[in-house]
């Protein structure tokens, strides 16, 4: 492919549809109970630091995956809604355009990647992100001996001044791709790769897969009539589709 073709391709809005993968996730809010198993799974998988009480008090927690709570109504009709919030891997991500040094960009799998060793810490991406899923390393966080022995060797530990965020467990995606290659397969099969959050979810609310493959579970889930995208009016084209919670029992699945 000539350079010109490449440029032309990347100029088209939906260019990622032509690639092998377009990783995406669906979150079934009707299944999600807000139990936060995903939060710890993410922390364990991705070496998220233990920031300590004072950092929490200053709202400097680092949780790539978090659960947001929204109440409706007043007592006694108060209702609580949970919504897991993590990087939406937007195809038209505001954060990507913001980085002066290409520390974040869109890779060929439709992932919004964050390259830690490239980041200089202007934090513009976090300002631009409507979902507030980017987390900054205000300090170099350390682990009390011997907690650091738990750290996942496939994921780097970030130092002070670096922005970080959900990667859809890119290390797992890579491993799955390697295995597929060892097997002489061009593509990873549906279900072969699951990020830590989806893997741990006790209610199977999170489904991960390739949105380019119309037969994948996630594609089918994304076409559910309950599907919507959070802050759709921001036109960020997220790769995460939420399935709306069903209110009342008359609406069958």
């Amino acid at each position: 492919m000539s350079v010109l073709d490449t440029i032309r391709k990347y100029r088209e809005a939906g260019y990622y549809k032509e690639f092998d993968y377009h990783w995406g996730m669906t979150v079934d809010l009707d299944r999600c109970t807000g139990c936060e198993a995903c939060v710890v799974a993410c922390q364990a998988e991705n070496n998220l630091p233990i920031v300590g009480e004072s950092s929490f008090a200053q709202r400097r927690e680092i949780k790539w995956m978090r659960i947001e709570r929204y109440w409706e109504g007043e007592y006694p009709n108060a209702k609580l809604n949970f919504i897991p919030m993590f990087c939406q891997q937007c195809d038209e991500a505001p954060c990507e355009t913001a980085c002066p040094v290409f520390a974040t960009y869109h890779n060929q799998d439709g992932l919004n990647t964050q390259i830690y060793n490239r980041c200089i810490g202007t934090r513009t991406c976090a300002v631009y992100c409507p979902y507030e899923v980017r987390y900054f390393n205000w300090f170099t966080y350390t682990w009390d001996e011997p907690l650091e022995r738990q750290l996942n060797p496939d994921v780097s530990v970030r130092e002070k001044g670096v922005m970080e965020k959900c990667t859809f467990c890119i290390q797992r995606i890579r491993q799955a791709k390697d295995l597929a290659k060892d097997d002489d397969r061009r593509k990873v099969r549906d279900g072969e790769v699951t990020p830590a959050c989806a893997q741990s979810c006790p209610t199977e609310a999170l489904v991960f897969g390739d949105l380019n493959d119309p037969e994948s579970r996630v594609s089918k889930m994304a076409n559910d009539p309950r599907g919507y995208q959070v802050l759709e009016e921001q036109n960020t084209s997220p790769s995460v589709v939420y399935l709306q919670k069903v209110h009342g029992d008359e609406e069958a699945i």
Partner: protein
């Protein structure tokens, strides 16, 4: 050896300089504490060549800036935000800035070249020229020009005349 003549009045100095020019004496310079627009006209200094530097610099800066954006974007194709790799609005902004940047820098270069600066050594100069006097200097005149020059300068009403080595 240079000749310098000091004048109290602008007109005198200008007429001395014009006289020297008319006499075919080369390397005449007229020094003044403030810019003399009348003198510039009299000495035939029209539109300065600096403007060419500015124009060419700005054009090159604009082209260069835009090419830099395009070229660096093509070294690594890094799609961001679903936007075009060669995106005009942001690149034009950069172009705008580089136009000015290079325009300013080349104007500076142009200034140095046209004004023949910096030149730190061996040039005729009188410190009064920077206070309230006008100085006409003839740089290294040939031996037959010396007399003539002194005559013209004195004739124009110089307060004093000196033969000096390069003082600056």
């Amino acid at each position: 050896m240079d000749i310098t003549g000091t004048f109290q009045y602008e007109e005198d100095a200008i007429s001395a300089a014009q006289g020297l020019h008319a006499a075919g004496i080369k390397n005449v310079s007229l020094m003044s504490p403030i810019p003399m627009h009348a003198a510039e006209k009299a000495l035939g200094l029209g539109k300065s060549n600096v403007r060419k530097f500015t124009l060419i610099g700005a054009i090159l800066g604009g082209l260069g800036g835009f090419s830099m954006c395009v070229a660096t974007a093509l070294v690594f194709i890094m799609p961001t935000g679903g936007r075009a790799i060669i995106a005009l609005p942001p690149y034009l902004l950069i172009t705008y800035e580089t136009t000015i940047l290079i325009g300013v820098l080349s104007t500076l270069v142009g200034f140095f070249l046209v004004a023949k600066l910096p030149a730190w050594k061996n040039r005729p100069y009188r410190v009064e020229a920077n206070v309230n006097r006008f100085v006409v200097a003839v740089e290294s005149p040939s031996s037959n020009e010396v007399k003539k020059a002194e005559q013209i300068i004195r004739g124009a009403g110089a307060l004093g005349i000196e033969q000096t080595g390069g003082t600056l």
